[in-house]
Every structure is written in structure tokens, then in C-alpha cells.
């Protein structure tokens, strides 16, 4: 337990009314190790520890707290701030239909998440249309169709089309005709270093002019989170991040790395394989989880 470890480092010191460079050294080393073990990117950890140190230096220990508790409070608060605060509500009036593009690396949970998003929005009174644009993965379109059928949300029929640009063209037309007010576009998983496929995403963005581009990231992602999310952000300017598989026991430090390097806020979390295992992101819960 990190807060206990921090308490221990301070217990060894005496006359500790203020947090100082010296008495914080061991505690900061413990915090650094905890964040690295939680998969926060090492560069992000470095910056974060420095910010914590600066905030803590010379700060009078608050009444009722000992220096260790004080430091934990600063660390927790710093994490919550970095994680971007409570997710704000979507303003659907900005675009009709409201277009949401879902992107990310292979296997992170995009297709499943598209279903969860559709279900979440349908429950809020929206009329979503799911648009399968993964023309590469075997049975990907069938997967989204099956998910859609399970929640009674229409899925655009991409079955005999093999060009994502053509699919979205027709899907937009259908949505306007059938008065669907949200388009959720599922894209194929891809590597950020695959120029052809990253270009495909840029072209899709140009055609869709989406109000949201959600990057779907796996909670167990390690140090590479900064590189991959950073590249997607560079190419598309992400509007949000959804972290999946938080029902596992991965600490999820990638959430911090991704927030830091893209500035895109975490919006939702996936908590299981069922369509209801989905909720808005809570920064304080994530901070606690990362700290362990």
C-alpha cells in the first residue's frame, strides 16, 4: 500500500514540521516506483514527481495531518488534476447527426465499446446508428451487427462494401434519411506506424468531420501508451479517450500517460464484456487505482 510505504519513510525522520527536500527523498522514490509499477510512462513520472516536489516544498503540514499524509494528499490531488477532472456531458446540438469516430490499436475493445456507447446513448433518448468500417478483420462487420441486434440499435449494412470512405458516405445519407441523431463509426484496429492505415483515418475524419474522435485504450497498456496515443493524437486530434478492461487488475497508469501526452480527456471506462459494463470516467477512482 503506497500511503503506508510513504508513512514509513517519514516515520524514520524526526522534527518534521515541514516537507523538505531531504525528508521527502525516500518518499518520492517510493512514489516513483509505485507509478512505474502502475505502468505510468517514465517521462510522465519524472515530470509528475517534480511537480509534486515543488508543490510540497515548504508547504506547512496541515493541522491533523502528518507529513506523510500531506504528501499522499498532494500526490492524489495531482493525479486527479492530470486525469482531467470529471467527464463533461456531450453537447449533441453541435452537429446533426452527431458523429463519433472510434479508433485505436488492435484488440483494445473498439467494436465492443461502440456497442456500449450506442446502448448508453439510446438509454439517454438518442437514436444512434452503428457504422462498421472495419473491412479487414474476419467477421468484424458481423460482430458489430450482432452487438447492435442485441441492443436493438440499427447497424448500417457494410457487408458488400470494402471501402470505408464509401461506407461512411452512404451511412451519413441513411442517417439523415432515417433521422438518426448519432453516428458511431467503428474502425479497424491499426498500428500508429502504419502510414497507409493512419491515412485512411485522416480521410475518414475529413469526410465525417466528426464531433468526437475517441481513442480506445486497454487498461493493461504499458510504457508504449505515450507513443501510440501520441501518434493517434498527432494524426487526428483526439477529443476523448475510453479506457477498457478496467474490470481487470491492471493499475491503469496508461490513463495518466495518455492524458498527459494528448491532453484528450478520459470520457468513459469499460468494466466488462457486457453492453452495460460502461460508465463515465471518474478521475478520483482512477487516481486511487493507479496509486495502488
Amino acid at each position: 500500500q503506497l500511503s503506508n510505504k510513504i508513512q514509513d519513510t517519514f516515520r524514520k525522520l524526526t522534527g518534521k514540521a515541514k516537507l523538505s527536500e531531504e525528508n521527502m527523498q525516500d518518499a518520492l522514490a517510493e512514489i516513483r516506483r509505485a507509478l512505474l509499477e502502475a505502468d505510468v510512462n517514465f517521462k510522465v513520472v519524472k515530470t509528475f514527481i517534480e511537480q509534486v516536489k515543488q508543490k510540497a516544498l515548504g508547504q506547512d503540514v496541515l493541522r491533523g495531518l502528518d507529513p506523510g499524509q500531506q504528501l499522499v494528499k498532494i500526490v492524489h490531488g495531482g493525479l486527479v488534476e492530470l486525469l482531467g477532472g470529471q467527464a463533461r456531458e456531450i453537447d449533441f446540438s453541435r452537429q446533426k447527426p452527431y458523429v463519433i469516430m472510434v479508433v485505436g490499436l488492435q484488440g483494445t475493445g473498439k467494436t465492443t465499446t461502440c456497442g456500449k456507447l450506442a446502448n448508453y446513448l439510446a438509454k439517454k433518448g438518442k437514436k444512434p446508428l452503428l457504422v462498421p468500417c472495419d473491412v479487414y478483420r474476419p467477421a468484424a462487420i458481423l460482430q458489430l451487427q450482432t452487438v447492435g441486434a442485441g441492443i436493438d440499435v440499427p447497424v448500417f449494412d457494410s457487408t458488400n462494401l470494402n471501402k470505408p470512405l464509401e461506407i461512411v458516405d452512404r451511412a451519413l445519407a441513411q442517417a439523415k434519411k432515417d433521422q438518426q441523431d448519432v453516428l458511431i463509426v467503428d474502425t479497424a484496429g491499426r498500428l500508429h506506424i502504419d502510414d497507409t492505415l493512419m491515412d485512411e483515418l485522416k480521410q475518414l475524419k475529413a469526410k465525417l468531420n466528426p464531433s468526437e474522435i475517441f481513442f480506445v485504450a486497454d487498461a493493461m497498456t504499458g510504457q508504449d501508451a505515450v507513443t501510440s496515443a501520441g501518434a493517434f493524437h498527432q494524426a487526428l486530434e483526439l477529443s476523448g479517450v475510453i479506457m477498457t478492461k478496467l474490470d481487470g487488475d491492471a493499475r491503469g497508469g496508461a490513463a495518466l500517460s495518455i492524458s498527459e501526452v494528448t491532453g484528450a480527456r478520459l470520457r468513459f471506462v469499460g468494466l466488462g464484456e457486457k453492453v452495460d459494463d460502461f460508465e463515465p470516467f471518474h478521475p478520483d477512482r482512477m487516481a486511487g487505482r493507479i496509486l495502488g
Partner: protein, 276 residues
């Protein structure tokens, strides 16, 4: 690091960052740095330093015995497991292709009876590889379709049976029990089976991979690893931590989404790309 560097604390700090960035993890990183620290004061150039790190990593990997996958006494039964989305189904397509090319008769069992379009996805792969496939359309009991596949293996004298399972998180007791049950069904029909249990691990996974490996070893008796998605920028360093702590051999690596993008594991080239 250009030019000649003295091995001192500042260099060790830089090396620590390099190793951590590959997902090697804190403990394994410290273990390697301790060894380098013994040469404090020495001057080394960048190339020698790099080779030194690669050698340390390769040594950890080579400490793990890598048994040859048993294919001489048919049928060889392989169970493929792992958490969600790591590449199990795709890897099975690649393995089937790999062994078909060696002239083997391969049967694939679609035991992911849960996820949308899982059976259809595997069916495409079996067609591509030229393998047979056992599917049970309206069942949601993996043990039942595995049983059918085992009976079929006996009847048809298949050389190899590869069983695809649903992705599952290792901290879900019900799902881990379901997998243990599938394994028992196999052992009941074939006392020496499953001959190997492959844990598929995504190269991008951070420290949680250690926990995944521990739990899957404990609950399902994993014997070998396959690391996928090494065609990305992730280095898969946690595989070294797993070698160090659990002594699991890596048999293959996945380097793409196509059927032929599976390579036998090579410790030297893996270490080289880790400290590229």
C-alpha cells in the same frame, strides 16, 4: 549515449530509463543495473554498453529451457488461452497454417462460445489455413464443443488439435474455473493432454502481464508463451520479467495480422530489438 561514458550513477540512471521504457519492470531492471554497477568507474562506449545490456537480457531469456513442441505422437492437443483481445484467434490461424505447411492434419476447435462472431472469425482463419474446424452452433458451453472436437480427433486421426478459447481476465474466478474445466475434459479423453497450453500475451502489455502469467499458470497450467503485436513499437520487455520469475519459454512471436506473420522465438534478435 554518444562517445565514451564512465559507468557512474548518472549513466545508471539513464540506463534505468531505457530499460523501464521497454516494460522490463522495476525488479528486473534493478537486477541488471546491479550487474552493471559492479563495473563502476570503467569507461565504455555506446556500442559496448548496448551489447552488454542485450547480453544480460539474452542471458535471462536463455536460462529458460525451451522444449520443442511435441508433434511426433499424434494427436498433439494444444490449448490457447489469454486475456481479451491479445490475438488468440489470429495466432491460431497462423499456427494452423504453420503446421499445415509441415504436412500435418490440423483440426481447430471453436471453443469461444461467448463473444459475438467469434466462431465466424475462426472459421475464416481455418479456411485460409486449410484446416478443419469443429464448431457447435447453438452451444454456450465450451466444454461441450471441446468434447466433440476430442471425439473427432480420435475418429479422424488428426495430427494436431488447436483449441481457441474466449478471452478472459485472470482475476475473474468463474471464467478461470471454466477454463480449468475445459482442461479437465481434455485430460479425461487424453491423459497426456493438453500437450501444451499456450498463453498469448500482447507485446504492449505492461506489468500486469506478470499477474496474467502467474494466474494462468496457477489455474490452467500454462506451459508456453506467444508474444503478439511485436510489429508495433512496444518492446514486450515484460516477457523478460516473466522469464526471470516464472521460467516460461516463449515459443513464437506474432509480427502482423497476416497468416504468415508468426516467427519462432529467437532470444538474440528479441534482445537486440529490445535495446535497439
Amino acid at each position: 549515449f554518444p562517445g565514451l561514458r564512465k559507468i557512474d550513477e548518472s549513466l545508471l540512471e539513464e540506463l534505468e530509463e531505457i530499460l523501464i521504457s521497454t516494460d522490463l519492470g522495476f525488479p528486473t531492471t534493478q537486477m541488471i543495473l546491479e550487474k552493471i554497477r559492479k563495473n563502476k568507474g570503467q569507461d565504455l562506449d555506446a556500442v559496448t554498453l548496448k551489447k552488454r545490456l542485450q547480453a544480460e537480457i539474452e542471458a535471462i531469456l536463455n536460462q529458460v529451457p525451451r522444449p520443442v513442441i511435441p508433434l511426433d505422437e499424434a494427436p498433439s492437443i494444444f490449448l490457447v488461452v489469454g486475456v481479451n483481445g491479445v490475438g488468440k484467434t489470429t495466432t491460431i490461424g497462423k499456427l494452423a497454417h504453420h503446421w499445415k505447411e509441415q504436412g500435418k492434419r490440423v483440426l481447430i476447435c471453436a471453443a469461444d462460445t461467448f463473444r459475438a462472431a467469434a466462431r465466424e472469425q475462426l472459421e475464416v482463419w481455418s479456411k485460409r489455413a486449410g484446416a478443419d474446424i469443429e464448431i457447435k452452433e447453438n452451444s454456450n458451453d465450451p466444454a461441450a464443443v471441446v468434447y466433440d472436437a476430442l471425439e473427432r480427433v480420435k475418429a479422424e486421426k488428426q495430427d494436431i488439435l488447436i483449441i481457441d478459447t474466449a478471452g478472459r481476465l485472470h482475476n475473474n474466478p468463474n471464467l478461470m474455473n471454466e477454463l480449468a474445466k475445459v482442461k479437465r475434459v481434455i485430460t479425461r479423453e487424453f491423459p497426456n493432454g493438453p500437450h501444451r497450453v499456450f498463453l498469448i500475451l500482447d507485446a504492449i502489455t505492461g506489468q500486469n502481464a506478470l499477474q496474467q502469467a502467474k494466474q494462468f499458470v496457477e489455474k490452467v497450467g500454462v506451459t508456453d508463451l506467444v508474444i503478439t503485436k511485436l510489429d508495433g513499437t512496444a518492446k514486450g520487455g515484460v516477457a523478460v520479467a516473466i522469464a526471470n520469475e516464472l521460467s516460461l519459454p516463449i515459443q513464437f512471436i506474432g509480427v502482423g495480422e497476416q497468416m504468415d506473420q508468426l516467427l519462432p522465438f529467437d532470444a538474440a534478435s528479441f534482445s537486440e530489438s529490445l535495446i535497439g
